[in-house]
Symmetry: C2
Subunit: 250 residues, 2 copies
């Protein structure tokens, strides 16, 4: 058996998320189908994590065991030929047998884009959250820095016992290496890099930062919300179309 490391980008608007679901278009589903057609096998690519419906990826990583001897450069071309234009494989590489896209991940980076202009260009509507209303962006930036470091992020994890947490272990303690908002012309962009993320964690953080930006929450509330370890203490889940999985580090 060979073990492949597949790096791919996708437009999440077109899919019901990453994970295979019967009868629904999912990224894992179309990738599995393309791999099956090219190899004649029945491989199941494992992602670094599940992205939800509408969430995009600039460089998601999947691992997959196959027997076929097709060289990686040919696999890249053949799979991209079959896949819809909304999913593009960027790289296909040989990986060590023990490599697993989720279990081997050391860090991930996510980004969240908010369009601040009054009128959102139609070409960006699927790719940003349009929020043209007043926000104290400096307060949001100060709050973002507060979640850096090791914290229990229970308050920001989806209450979702059926599905469990994205990163499996029962503990909700994660380390955030960096967390910052910045202005990029008409967009307010949040970038967070950490050693692991709970389900909905980035969107729940963004939803909470937005309450801080609106003045509904104050700076001091963020420490309290973390300490409460209760999902209902934090803000709402921000819409999916602004979120991007930017990269996975191994």
């Amino acid at each position: 058996m060979r073990n492949l490391k597949i790096t791919l980008a996708y437009d999440g608007y077109e899919f019901h998320g990453w994970q295979v679901q019967p009868g629904l278009a999912t990224v894992q589903g179309v990738l599995r189908e393309a791999l099956a057609r090219v190899t004649g096998e029945d491989p199941l690519p494992q992602g670094s994590g599940r992205t939800d419906a509408g969430v995009h990826a600039l460089a998601q990583v999947a691992s997959c065991a196959i027997r076929s001897p097709i060289p990686v450069s040919n696999l890249l071309i053949a799979l991209n030929d079959i896949l819809p234009p909304s999913v593009r494989l960027l790289r296909v590489e040989e990986a060590q047998p023990e490599f697993h896209a989720r279990a081997s991940a050391k860090a991930k980076t996510y980004r969240y884009r908010i369009y601040r202009g009054a009128i959102c260009p139609p070409f960006r509507a699927r790719y940003v959250y349009h929020h043209p209303f007043p926000l104290d962006e400096a307060a949001m930036q100060r709050a973002a820095a507060q979640v850096e470091g090791e914290h229990d992020f229970t308050s920001f994890a989806a209450v979702d016992p059926e599905r469990g947490r994205e990163d499996a272990p029962a503990s909700c303690v994660r380390t955030v290496f960096s967390s910052a908002w910045e202005r990029r012309e008409e967009e307010l962009v949040y970038t967070i890099r950490g050693n692991g993320f709970l389900h909905h964690m980035v969107r729940n953080l963004v939803g909470t930062f937005l309450l801080l930006g609106k003045g509904t929450l104050a700076q001091a509330d963020l420490q309290r919300i973390l300490a409460q370890q209760d999902r209902s203490a934090a803000g709402p889940t921000a819409p999916p179309q602004g979120l991007y999985l930017v990269s996975v580090e191994y």
Copy 2:
């Protein structure tokens, strides 16, 4: 009666072109419906020209007569509230009674985007024509300059008697003020500005420039094609998703 000048952008991928067609989503159709809901009248917005299915607009212009006294600033907000995110009104202005978006137009600018990289990012797939194969881009640039000036563009007009020409008059003589290809990172971008355009004219020019870039046609062929005044002399129609109506001048 008031006469409105409406400037709008749209993602052409979502529509069967500009012109109202029964049972199909068109830009004119959704704009008419939104105007009807806001004004309680039955106005028909007239575009500066019909864009085909898949063709985008950065600033299409439409004129429309209404009776309603609603101020233009309120119309802008109310109409954008109703319209899908794939159509955005950029400006609504009062116009002189004799203003007509098509008949009053003095010049138009179109752009065509070709993505040259090996793998087209999924977020750009709807907005460019992906052509990663070799092209003599310098030859295309030289050829582009050759269509500047006044020419009979019959060879580049769709043979389409049912629909007629976009700009109505029988003559296919048009003046091109500027015509140029330029590199913008991974994209090869064509921009043409002229006093009027025949149906499919920009896409037929691009399809012909591509044959020059591939070496199927030589520089000298372009004068011959213009002189032949025969659609079959020119290259194929380039795909719609690379084309943008950039602006209309009055």
